[in-house]
Amino acid sequence: MALFQPARRAGTGTGTSEIPAKQSTRRSASGYEAVHASRDFWTIRRRAHSFIVPACVAFLAWYFLFVILAVFAPGFMRVSVFGDVNMGLCFGGAQFASTFLIAVSYRRWARRRLDPLSDRLRRRLEDGQR
């Protein structure tokens, strides 16, 4: 447990200054290093990245595919799907849908898979300070 003991919590203030003095942040920073190298922390980080990185790559690729199709393949975007509703409008609607979907699924995923882990580590770190 002592391993996870930052000397003091950064930002609890030194009274006059809003920004903690240099010396104290040094000490607390070295405490964080041990946590950073710990297995629990690496699990949290790896798990967070396992959702966030693919999600970011996917939504950026999907968005730029849409933009490039709109700019360089306007003919394709004008292909009718039914009546006056064309490919471009369907793609645009799908951008809205995918944005809502990613936001909602990230919230659900983080609540179930990520928050319990980071809560546990935070509680341990905060208990260690008292």
Partner: protein, 561 residues
């Protein structure tokens, strides 16, 4: 507090009823519109006074005591984000150019995923009030804080001037103020009001103003959209067909290319704009600062999800409003009205609900400008007081009470600068100016934020190179683009250049939006500056940053708990 918003809305609906009788025909009654404006200003001032009256500490002034809940802050972020450019500008572009305006709104929405996934929680967990706090936790170097502050101030001022310029155009349309001096007076009044909001309300007061404004805006957009859809038998395809049938371009308006497909330059211009929109949101200082008004990182995440719903549904409404205006008002009438595309929604409202609905829409648009302008002012003043005064000039040893005093004085100064800038920039398309602010934010702010949060070998030099490189390249490219010179006849999205004389032309850069060049350049410079920096990076700082970012340990607490 939600009932206040509803009440405000209900009263706005009821009040104009008397005005219908006094209607003089044409486009609404200026007296009525003015009455509604005054009423909204009064209501929001009361809210700002009652909510912000107890603002004393720095945390109260900058972050509203960090006591807002996720949904409150989510709606307030939406209020800060949905500017007049969104409401009037995008619907106007859709009404005139069809599908290309829709492309705009998608970029404005999709960018929020970057805020949600990469920025919101780590930023709330590691910072205090400003973006510079986060970079500073990693690098703690006075020049880096100064650089981040300069970038924040430039982006805020750019955005602010865009809003002020829009206020002039809008009011000239709705209040019938057509003289130049009259418009300048209106811009000055808007500036004065926003200073009052910020001084009296602080972050808590302005947040409530945003919440009220966002609710009224969403309700106004939803009611008008449903009204339009009811004319088309509640069928979106039918609405699209009607719109296409009434446009001279026919079904082409339903596909891309009318505005941006003209030439190769305009195609790349659009891609550049798309880069700016999707990456700029996560670098907008007034959005980032709002993330500090909630108790913890998890509430910050929740608030961004609320914002995504609000912004997304709102932009779906603008699609209906834009095509509705194309169908019911017609492109010719919109183009010939004062304000051009920006007048599409007011004209549509007049067509549907006469002076009553026009008055409501006008009040909503005016409220939007006031609220966004107040949000930007508080951000810029916090940045100057916290980063420049306390962080740089006083090297972190300033008295918090002094810091707040400096912030208040700065708010007044920024108000004056914005009024002068708004007077100088009036007449330029608001949506377009906002696109430029996004480009600067994406270039100067975003690379430094992402590198600080995610890359262990990021150094102070890398930060300085990416911030100043992004800032100078984006602003510089705008200066040597057709925005400033070389376009003496109106054409495409920007109309004429700032310098309309055909003899002055230093437009060496063909695109009107610099993001496609300046954003990759800023990322590259951040990398290059870091790998060529011989001074060792402090691994302990990075460790602290990441542990705090992922667990929320040591984050700034709410005043309430």
């Amino acid at each position: 507090m939600a009932h206040v918003a509803l009440m405000a809305h209900a009263t706005q609906m009821a009040r104009p009823a008397a005005g219908v009788l006094a209607s003089s025909g044409t486009v609404g009654t200026p007296t009525l519109n003015f009455g509604i404006f005054a009423f909204f200003v009064l209501v929001t001032l009361v809210i700002a006074v009652s909510a912000g009256g107890k603002s004393r500490s720095a945390s109260d002034y900058y972050a509203g005591g960090r006591a807002f809940t996720g949904w409150q802050n989510g709606i307030a972020i939406g209020g800060d984000y949905l500017s007049a450019a969104s409401f009037l500008g995008i619907a106007g572009i859709i009404a005139l150019a069809g599908y290309d305006g829709f492309l705009y709104s998608i970029g404005f929405l999709v960018g929020w995923l970057l805020v949600l996934l990469l920025v919101s929680e780590p930023l709330r967990n590691t910072g205090r009030y400003t973006m510079a706090d986060v970079i500073d936790l990693r690098l703690r170097a006075v020049p880096v804080r100064a650089g981040a502050a300069v970038a924040t101030l430039v982006v805020s001022l750019f955005y602010l001037i865009a809003q002020m310029a829009g206020a002039g155009a809008l009011v000239s349309l709705l209040l019938g103020v057509s003289t130049v001096a009259g418009q300048d007076l209106v811009i000055a009044l808007v500036g004065l009001l926003m200073i009052v909001y910020v001084l009296v309300g602080g972050m808590k007061g302005t947040t409530w103003v945003q919440i009220v404004k966002a609710s009224v805006l969403a309700a106004g957009a939803a009611v008008t959209s449903v009204w339009v859809l009811s004319r088309a038998g509640f069928s979106l395809p039918a609405l699209l067909s009607h719109a296409a049938a009434s446009s001279p371009a026919g079904r082409a308006v339903l596909g891309p290319g009318l505005e941006y497909g003209v030439s190769t330059a305009s195609k790349f211009d659009f891609i550049s704009l798309a880069v700016a929109l999707v990456l700029g949101t996560a670098g907008l200082p007034h959005v980032l600062m709002r993330l500090y008004t909630v108790p913890d990182g998890r509430e910050a995440r929740r608030s961004v999800i609320w914002t995504i719903w609000l912004v997304g549904l709102f932009y779906l409404c603008t699609l209906v409003l834009g095509f509705g205006a194309m169908w019911l008002v017609g492109g010719t009438a919109i183009k010939s009205a004062p304000g051009g595309g920006d007048s599409a929604v007011p004209l549509l409202a007049f067509h549907l609900g006469g002076t009553v609905l026009l008055g409501v829409v006008a009040a909503v648009a005016f409220a939007t400008i006031l609220a966004v302008v107040a949000g930007l002012t508080i951000t810029a003043s916090a940045c100057f007081a916290h980063d420049v005064y306390a962080g740089v000039l006083r090297a972190g040893q300033a008295d918090p009470a002094d810091e707040v005093r400096v912030a208040r004085i700065t708010a007044v100064v920024i108000g004056f600068v914005a009024v002068l800038g708004g007077i100088a920039a009036k007449g330029i398309d608001v949506a377009f100016l906002v696109g430029l602010a996004f480009a600067i934010a994406a270039s100067a702010n975003l690379p430094a934020i992402l590198y600080s949060l995610l890359w262990s070998r990021f150094t102070s030099r890398g930060a300085l190179w990416s911030i100043y490189g992004g800032l100078i390249s984006s602003v510089g490219l705008i200066i040597i683009s057709p925005v400033v010179s070389g376009q003496s006849t109106a054409m495409g999205a920007i109309g004429t250049s700032l310098i309309t004389s055909p003899h002055v032309n230093f437009a060496f850069f063909p695109l009107t939006n610099p993001a496609i060049v300046s954003v990759p350049l800023a990322f590259f410079l951040g990398w290059l500056g870091s790998v060529t920096d011989r001074r060792p990076v402090d691994p302990a700082r990075f460790a602290r940053m990441q542990v705090r970012a992922y667990t929320g340990v040591g984050a700034e607490r709410s005043n309430r708990s």
